[in-house]
Every structure is written in structure tokens, then in C-alpha cells.
């Protein structure tokens, strides 16, 4: 028999919303102005960190449809052609999910290394696709800036994963709001 318990439901909803809130926060961090010189050019891939972490440890937190929508929002906000981030993020998420069982059993340094590979792939894919749209001498300076952004992302990832790990610990065990009694 299932019984609806309002207190439990609120608890469950708040915890799930926190996880989603952190993901949206990372998306917005990717876009907001830090008011530092060149911060926009070398900005780390914050959203990619969330995509990578949840693809390994809790794929149900970020379904593919959700990643697609977040990628699309990021494209629209950052002035890139719509669908670019959506395509790359969904692609990378799927490939990380394929190897999640392997990565889950590894020490943290391997997970970090995995992220380094994923962010290199992300940066290169972003560069290749934008170069398709407009290729010129400017593409090379963009490649250099993207590589620096990739390096920064790899250095910042432990911090982000620490935060996501904190969120992971308070996530409800079940993804269903109804509590089973009796």
C-alpha cells in the first residue's frame, strides 16, 4: 500500500531540486561575467563538469533530454549556433555513460584523468564545429584560448566534483516520491 506523506515528499523534492539547482548554477557560471580581464575567453567548462560527474555516479539526475535542453540554453545565452553545445554534451555524456561501470571502480585520479580526456574532446569538438562555420586566421587564436580553458577546467574539476559529491550524498536514495508502507 502506498501512502502520501507530505513531509517526506517535501524532503524528497527539496533534495532533488538542490541537485538540479547546482547544475543550473554551473550553467550560469559558464555565462556570467567575472569582471576579470579575459575571463570570458578562458572560462572553464563548468557545465561539462556536472555532465561528467552525474554520467558516472548518478545518470538519472541528468537524463539525456535534460542535457540537451541545458546545452541548448547555453548555446542561446553564449551566442553560439543553437545545437552546438547540445550535440557535443549529449555525445560526451553518452560515451561516459558507456564506461561508467569501469570508471566507478577506479581511484579518483583515474576519474580526474577521464575528465581531462573528456574536456580535451569537448574543447576540440567545439573548436572544430565553430571553425566549420567560419574558418580564418582567428580560428588559431581561438584554439589557443580553448586549450587554456581546457587546462583551467582540469584544474578546477576537483573543486567542482567535491561540491557535486556533497550534493550526491544528500540526494534521496529513491527517485520515487511515494513512500511505501506496510
Amino acid at each position: 500500500m502506498f501512502q502520501f506523506l507530505p513531509g517526506e515528499f517535501t524532503n524528497w523534492a527539496v533534495r532533488l531540486l538542490l541537485a538540479q539547482g547546482v547544475i543550473v548554477l554551473l550553467l550560469l557560471l559558464n555565462v556570467i561575467s567575472f569582471y576579470l580581464p579575459h575571463a570570458g575567453d578562458f572560462k572553464p567548462f563548468f557545465l561539462l563538469m556536472a555532465v561528467y560527474y552525474w554520467a558516472i555516479y548518478r545518470p538519472t539526475v541528468m537524463p539525456v533530454s535534460y542535457t540537451f535542453i541545458l546545452g541548448l540554453i547555453m548555446d542561446l545565452l553564449s551566442g553560439l549556433p543553437p545545437g552546438l553545445n547540445a550535440l557535443i554534451l549529449v555525445g560526451l555524456q553518452t560515451s561516459v555513460r558507456r564506461s561508467r561501470l569501469f570508471l566507478m571502480g577506479q581511484p579518483y585520479i583515474m576519474v580526474w584523468l577521464g575528465f581531462a580526456l573528456v574536456s580535451i574532446a569537448y574543447g576540440l569538438a567545439l573548436w572544430l564545429m565553430t571553425s566549420l562555420f567560419s574558418f580564418g586566421p582567428a580560428s588559431f587564436s581561438a584554439l589557443f584560448q580553448t586549450l587554456i580553458a581546457t587546462l583551467l577546467s582540469v584544474f578546477i574539476f576537483p573543486l567542482a566534483s567535491l561540491m557535486l559529491h556533497g550534493v550526491h550524498r544528500i540526494l534521496p536514495v529513491t527517485s520515487k516520491p511515494l513512500h511505501s508502507v506496510g
Binding site: 550560469l28 572560462k43 549529449v90 573548436w127 581561438a142 584560448q145 580553448t146
Partner: protein, 288 residues
């Protein structure tokens, strides 16, 4: 006799379930590719959606960027006593120099006014400034744009020139209700009609995705030297003529422009509320 009960098997089919079973990535990647193809063929088709999404997120962007702005204010505010002394001496000297310039400017202004009156010159249409906060940058190396927290509600319109305190920054390319997107003059897609002050030579300022945009379409025999001032030419009715842009720097025989504005680090901008085509403005005495 015991009745034999058949176990019933319920089969439920829903298309959503099918999508969720492993086909989802393929379907969403196809959708993204389709969107990309559309934006490749018709780049402007998503403009409306882009500005509404930006409008929707602007409150969150303003709230989230505020702590970073505060940090930046504090960071620029911290200076040592010796630095303050040096700055003070420098400012005093500059003030004395500017006072002389102020007198010269007043004299020139009155002379200019009387000459205008003599020649019966048609005055330029009046313009005003809209000051807005920069809340977001593009966040990547491929697009140099910024989102400012002012839109059509504040009479910001597509095509208007955007300045920082020092000089031209770019132009408005999309205006939503409460936010608008500024294409910075360093972006690879930015092309602005400019004028080399002194030689009166017209050129196009083309963004290169680096700090210094290039000066293009100059005649071969154009005499361009380091330190020449670049201002907007006002050609095509796009901007007010004479907005300060930057100074020329010749590198490897090619002219580049170092903008007066620190484009890599913008906090506030001024948007020039100026009619896009001044020749369409009716003369004085016409009904408003």
C-alpha cells in the same frame, strides 16, 4: 477442483518509454544536428528565441554576477598609500593640462558655432546615452559578445553603438525586452566603418577574435603610422561620426587598432540612443 489461473502479462507501450531505452542519445543528437544545420543555413532564424531566453535568464545573471562585481570593485579599490600619492601627483598634472584644454575647447566651440551659423549647417540629430550593466560574456573563445541588462523597455534598439567610458566597444545585435546582446568590436564577425583622423582616410575595422582588430580596405598608398587616432566615420548611418575607437599600431607592416576601451573587462557600458539613419529624420517644425 482447483481452477487453474493463468498468469496475465500486461504489455504497455509508450513512445516515451522507447525513447528512454537507449535510443534517446541518438534522437537528441539528430535533433541537435538538425538545429545546427538550420543555424548554418539561416543564421538569424533563432534571434527571437535567443533574446527571449536571454530575457528569461537576465534576473538570474544579474543576481549571480553581483558578487563578482563587488569583488572587482574591492580589488580595484585596494591601493597602497604610495600608489595613491603617485596617482595624486599624476592627476594634478593632468588636471592642470586639462584646464588649458578646457579653455581651448570653449574657444573652439564658440568659433565652431559661429561658423556653423554663417554656413547654415544642418545640425546632427540629438542623441542620449543609456547606461547599462554588463551581466554576461560569451564564456568561450569563439564569440566575443556580452549581455547587458537593458532592453527595448529602456529604448535600446538593434544597431546602436555601445561605448565604455574610454571609447567604442561594439554594437547591439539583439535587443530583448529587458536585456540585449552586444557584439564586441573584437569579434571575428564585427565590421565597423571608421576613419583615420588626420588623413581622413576611410577604412573598415574588422575583428580578429584577438585584443586588436585589424584596419582593412585601406588604399595601398595610405600613410598610416603608429599612434594615429581612429574614430567612427558614420558611413551608412550606422553610428554617430567621431566616436573614439582607438589608436593605430603597425605590426609586420599591417595596421591594427588598439581600442581605447578595455574590452576584455567590461562592467558598465553606455549605449548611444541614436536613430539608425539620420537622413530619415524630419527637419525642425515637422509634427512629432
Amino acid at each position: 477442483m482447483k481452477r487453474r489461473t493463468r498468469s496475465k502479462v500486461y504489455v504497455r507501450f509508450s513512445p516515451l518509454q522507447y525513447i528512454g531505452s537507449g535510443q534517446a542519445p541518438v534522437i537528441f543528437m539528430l535533433a541537435a544536428t538538425l538545429l545546427l544545420t538550420v543555424s548554418f543555413v539561416r543564421p538569424g532564424v533563432f534571434g527571437g528565441i535567443r533574446s527571449s531566453v536571454t530575457d528569461m535568464f537576465t534576473p538570474a545573471l544579474i543576481a549571480l554576477s553581483e558578487p563578482f562585481r563587488q569583488i572587482s570593485v574591492v580589488q580595484t579599490g585596494i591601493t597602497s598609500l604610495s600608489e595613491l600619492r603617485a596617482e595624486n601627483t599624476q592627476l594634478k598634472a593632468e588636471n592642470a593640462r586639462l584646464k588649458e584644454w578646457y579653455q581651448t575647447a570653449l574657444m573652439l566651440e564658440s568659433e565652431n558655432q559661429s561658423l556653423h551659423a554663417l554656413l547654415n549647417v544642418k545640425p546632427d540629430p540629438a542623441h542620449r546615452f543609456i547606461t547599462a550593466r554588463v551581466v554576461a560574456d560569451s564564456g568561450n573563445a569563439f564569440v566575443k559578445s556580452a549581455i547587458v541588462a537593458a532592453g527595448e523597455n529602456d529604448s535600446v534598439m538593434k544597431g546602436q553603438a555601445v561605448l565604455s567610458g574610454e571609447g567604442l566597444v561594439g554594437r547591439v545585435i539583439e535587443a530583448g525586452q529587458s536585456s540585449s546582446r552586444v557584439l564586441l568590436l573584437t569579434d571575428v564577425n564585427s565590421r565597423l566603418p571608421v576613419l583615420v583622423e588626420g588623413s581622413r582616410q576611410k577604412a573598415i575595422l574588422a575583428g580578429m577574435n584577438t585584443d586588436m582588430p585589424a584596419l582593412k580596405y585601406l588604399p595601398v598608398d595610405a600613410d598610416i603610422k603608429d599612434g594615429m587616432r581612429i574614430v567612427t566615420s558614420g558611413n551608412g548611418g550606422m553610428f554617430i561620426p567621431g566616436l573614439p575607437v582607438g589608436t593605430v599600431i603597425v605590426k609586420d607592416g599591417l595596421p591594427y587598432v588598439k581600442p581605447y576601451a578595455d574590452i576584455s573587462r567590461l562592467t558598465h557600458v553606455r549605449i548611444v540612443d541614436y536613430p539608425e539613419d539620420p537622413y530619415l529624420i524630419e527637419g525642425s517644425g515637422a509634427p512629432r
